[in-house]
Symmetry: D2
């Protein structure tokens, strides 16, 4: 199944089933899952540590691509599990956040600029 067919609900179900089979829900507190997401993000980041931004594109297409895909997968897996444990409908949460962002970063003001919204 590819991204064009995979729904967030289906992905969440698979991640939950994996944890349930192993009786891991007892370890999956919001606190611990937030740490797991942060730890996996750091592993993703480490691949690009000393490279400049442009070279980070080359790293992505080099020998480490498989590892990089794995780290990103881990981040998304733990994020889905956080949503499971917290009872969060991610689509709703993301739509709400993107509306907020659209108000904070109106196209005319934000175009081509990386400033924070309070510095635009």
């Amino acid at each position: 199944m590819s991204d064009t067919e995979m729904t967030l609900a289906e992905l969440k179900t698979r991640v939950l089933a994996f944890a349930q089979e192993r009786e891991w829900l007892q370890f999956h507190s919001p606190k611990n899952l937030s740490m797991a997401i942060a730890a996996e993000s750091a592993e993703l980041m480490e691949h690009f540590l000393w490279a400049d931004s442009e070279d980070s594109h080359k790293i992505l297409d080099g020998a480490k691509r498989g590892q990089i895909e794995d780290e990103l997968a881990d981040i998304v897996i733990y994020s889905m599990e956080f949503a499971n444990v917290a009872g969060i409908d991610l689509s709703t949460a993301i739509a709400a956040k993107m509306e907020q962002n659209a108000r904070k970063y109106p196209v005319e003001k934000a175009r081509g600029r990386s400033n924070k919204y309070n510095e635009l």
Copy 2:
């Protein structure tokens, strides 16, 4: 649209459109996006910093629930954007990672245990 209908492809498309409209792709190197994911993860984690695992469930259902949903949304948004920039089919990457994990953590050995696979 809720998680039962939202596909990863649709979510990725929305996130990409938001960045494109603002001409932000120039800032979205793999390096920078990995930092953004890590920074947002830390913000999620901060909500649970001094709480123990059990209390972290209460925090989730308290006054900060909206903020927590926002942080999780940000992590997923930047993860989708990383997948966009990197040309990663997340469903495929996650399925591959979960198969790896299933081999590393067979149900009989991993049940009810939080040890790393090399310490099971």
Copy 3:
């Protein structure tokens, strides 16, 4: 030399010399060093990921103590190097931050409580 004799200036000098000998200053931008600190912090954190707070004391005194000391050392090394590159006198910065903290967290209000200052 132990902590009773080692000054911050001496530590900073050693860390800088190590980087200079290897011509690594070119990689040591504030951005990259902040990522390195974050990456090392995540490695420290990973040792305590699924443990509850109490058990984290036991982990500290177990087989991983050496690794944990190494991760903490890395965090401090990169922090010293950040101070080198940024020209920060850490003692002054820390004294200023602790005064701020003392105002935000007066003893009578903060005693035995882990709330943020704006929630005390």
Copy 4:
């Protein structure tokens, strides 16, 4: 007191006294302190998120310098507190780690290169 006079032991003592006065040791498990260090590192990193490495030097000398000094101070404060709680002599731990690093990154092989030791 400046970095030329401030010893690590003195700094550790000050940080511990601050926590003890507020009866905060109960929250200062290794797990929680490792999360606090990681959270503060992410805040430091956020200042440089969308800048390239060169521009991160300018950010350092701009309007945010005070905030950046504060974030670095927080990282070092929590690192000292971790050493307090764990009974770690940091100078010894750092000297050991730097010897390890010197073996992994001999000057002749590592000069001017940012590769990991196993890729030199």
